[in-house]
Every structure is written in structure tokens, then in C-alpha cells.
Amino acid sequence: MTLVRVIALKEFRTYFASPMAYVVAAAFLAITGFFFVASVSDAFSEATIRGFLAGAVFFMIFMSPALTMRLLAEEQKLGTLELLLTSPLREVEIVLGKFIAAFTMLLIMAFLSLFFVLVLYVYGVPDSWPIVTGYMGLLLYGAATIAIGLFASVLSPNQIVGLVVGSGVLTGLTIIDFISARVTGTAAEVLNGLQLGASFSVFDLDSFGVAEAGHFADFARGIISISDIAYYLSVTFLFLFLTVLLLQVRRWR
């Protein structure tokens, strides 16, 4: 565990060594802030964070791979991966350390966004429970997107490849509802089951940018369901596992 912490700490510091962390956090707050404002500024609008959540789940399709694209691609490009893999380190320690660093960035942004919640409590009387479950869902969803981003980053020494593949996979899992809406029976159920959570109908504030069939919908409504939690955790574990596997396979080539 010490080694995981060492790697996580190093990556976390690296985020702040460049403008990267600040730029991403600023973009996150600006975009989610726009959605938040749009959702609560009408007369008689509800005091909820659903607008914020819509912006967040949508934006993370691009933000998570942007946060993770450097993590494993750069090690390959600089040749430092050779050092890591010839040090007494396990592949899983490398991957977990990097995952934790990126997830911590997400936690910080989630923390900063609590400002929106504060605004709600100052100017309105919001229902607290959906806010709690909304944030819980957001972190689970975020973990899954970061795991996918990290997986994309191991594929190539080129960071752009990581970004494009990561966003591509996330987009694919997001627009699945376009397909599932057009098929019936088991196929539709399976596709619905894979729906990551965001929806591209973000500008339609009635659906709050959250896919109705997706695993995020219930969290946004204030419902915690085991199947949704299991889905996000499975996606996270699956992609972290694949990342470790690819690092191991890399040796054998």
C-alpha cells in the first residue's frame, strides 16, 4: 500500500505542476455552473442540483479522459515505464496509484462544486436527500469514467490517442440509448443495462441531461439502488483490471 500511496502522491503533485489541474477544474466549474444556473434561475423553478449533475455527467465524458490521458501514455513515451516495471513494483500498484490520483482530482472538483449547494440553501429550501444521492452517484460515475480513461491511456504512448479512445468509449456508452430506443426485447434490455448515465440531450433541461434508462437516473432522483452501484463498481474494476492486464501483456511482446 505504501507504494500505491507514493505513486498517487507523485501523480497528484504533477497535476499541480502544470496549469492542467487549474484549467480542468475551471472548465468543470464553468460548465456545470452554466447548467446549474440555467436549471434554477426561472421563476418557480425547483431548488435541486439536477442541472449541475446534468452538466457534470456530460462534461466528464471529456474531462475524465483528459485527466487520465497523461498517466500511462507519458510513462511509455518517456521510457519511465521501463523503470517502473523493473522496480520492485506490481503492475496493480502502479494502476491503483494513478487511479487514486485522478479520482482525488475529481473529489476536489466535487468539493468545489458544493458552492452550488450552498447557493441552494441560502436562496431556497432544497430537498437534502437527492443532493446526497446525486453526489454519491456522481462519484461512482466519475470512478467508472476515470477507469475507462486510464485504460485508454495504456493503449499508446500518445496522449491524444488516450483522450480520443477514452472519450470515444464513454461517448459510445452514452449514446447507447439512441440504439436501445430503436430495438425491442432482450437486446434493448441489455443495451439499456450498459447505458453509462449521461445523455446527449443535455440541453433539454426536462431530462436534466441524465439518460432515463441509465444508471445515473435514480441517483439524480434520490434513489439508491444496488444494481446501479454494482454497475459502476463493475465498470471501474473491469477497466482497472484490463489496464493491469495490458501492462502485464506489454512485457510479453
Binding site: T2, V6, T80, E82, L83, T86
Partner: protein, 323 residues
Amino acid sequence: MIKLEHMSKYYGAYPAVIDASFEVLRGEIVGFLGPNGAGKTTTMRVLTGFTPPTVGEATIAGYNVMTHSLDARRHIGYLPETVPLYLDMTVTDYLTYMGQIRGMNLSWIKERLPVVIDQVQLGDYRQTLVGKLSKGYRQRTGIAQAILHEPDVLILDEPTIGIDPIQVVETRELIVDLGSRHTLLLSSHILPEVSMICQRVLVIHDGRIVADDSPSQLSNRLQHTERIELGVTGAEGREVINLLRDMTVVVDARSDIRADVQQRAAREGAAALLVDARPGSNAAQHVAASVIERGWGLKYLTPLPMTLEEIFLELTTEEDLGA
């Protein structure tokens, strides 16, 4: 400390290293010499556990690099060919991080850091970003990370490549100094460099280890020889050697050659011999004639295709100042 047994490494169908075996004892400084693309880096990657061998085994400090990988890796300090550095960290931060990854605790790192920085003469650059260092200083930073955790075995892949001549001299002095504390294997494609630093030289060419000798012995053999391998029946190896050594075209004849060649010859009832002859003397013909004249059987006679000298021609034999 370092042991490689019948290791071959294939990339797809392409053989990078074929049946390489050698051993480096504690405290030895061994040079791994070969032209570019001979298989030096691949061998080092196998030894450090970065790439698994296709067949054969590698052992570091008694630990198999594949089955007891973590234990083996704890004993290695490694400088890959492209010096792996995080460009956005300072020298101190980088070395501290590398130490931690090697399992050192902070108090040990704190104790070692000034010693190592002094050793590689990076004193003025402690707080400099690695990305701002010149090539030579980057190389030193790379060496520093390899020795920080006081590994038993130090593996340096082309440690002097691409740095300016003055720094090359300093780096070599540093390596000789390191050799007094570590078991050291370093690769190079520059002949004088290896002779200068190492007590023993392994020559690799086209994936095969073709010589394993001290630098002075190697230069002796470089005195223009042509090699012939032959198998003789009906005589003791000793007798044949005596006969051959008396011939004017023969520089030396011996029977202490590779075990697999000896065994193959023995199965056919022949004694296997290796002859170093003067080049251009038509030695193969003379040797064959002499053997047959004695009434012995000549089972086979093979001029070895690549002599050491030809391999050395591909090496950089002079100090290349432009490199």
C-alpha cells in the same frame, strides 16, 4: 550475481538473442560489447525482468527474474538506454521518488541523497528541473537513480552514448568508481571504452555471444586470426592439438570449446577442436591435409563464418568525438 542460462528471445519469428549463457560474479565489471542491434538491450531487458525470455532463464542474486521477479528486481539498479526521467520534477524530487519506488524509506533516502549527488557531481543542480538539464547531467541523474538504493547488481545500457567528450571521460571515471562497490554489467558499442573500464568483455553479434574474455586476451585474438572448427576421429584431442600447434599456419589450437559442440562431436566418436589460424594462409586446406596424412578421420571441418575481427570492424573502434 548475474546468471543467464541458454536464453533466447524472439520477437515474433525474429531472433534477437540466441542461446546466450554467461555468468557475472560478485564484484566483476563486465562489458557487453556489440554493434548496434546485436541484442545488447534485449539481453539487459531480460536480465532486469522487463521482457521475459522466450526460452532459458535469467537469475539475479539467486532469484529467477520471472518466478521471483520482485525479489530479483530489489537487487537491481538499472539505467536503460534512453534515460528515463520525469522532466517536470527537480533532481531531488525525482531521486526521492525513485528511491521510494525501490522501497527505500524516507530516512534512508535522506541519508543516501547527498552521498549519491556528490558521487555523480550533481551538487549544483539539486533543485533544477530534470527537463532543463543537459544531456550529460541527465545521464548522471539516471545513474544516480540506479545506485541510490545500493543495489548489488548494476546494469547500465550504453551509459556514455550521446554525451559530449569531456563528460564521457567523467562518466567513465564514475563507472570505474562504481565498479568497486557493485557488480556491474554495462553495454557499449565502443571498443576502447570497454577495454578501458572492464575486466571482462562479452562480445555479442547477431544475437549470439561470440566471445567472453579479458580485454587483453581479446586484443591478442584480434591479431589477425581465422577460425576453424574441426572434428577428428581415431585420435586423442591432445595428440591433434600437438600436431596442429606445430604447424606454421596455426596460431593456436584448443579443445575447450562450447559444451554442446563437444557433445555433438563425442556422439560421433570425434574430438572437437577449435583452431585459430593466420588469415590468407589457406589454413583449412593445410589442416585437413595434415590430419589425413596421419591416418586420422576428418569428421568435419568448418571455417567459422564470422571472426571476431570482422565483428569488431562493425564496432566503433575509435573514440568518435561526434557521437
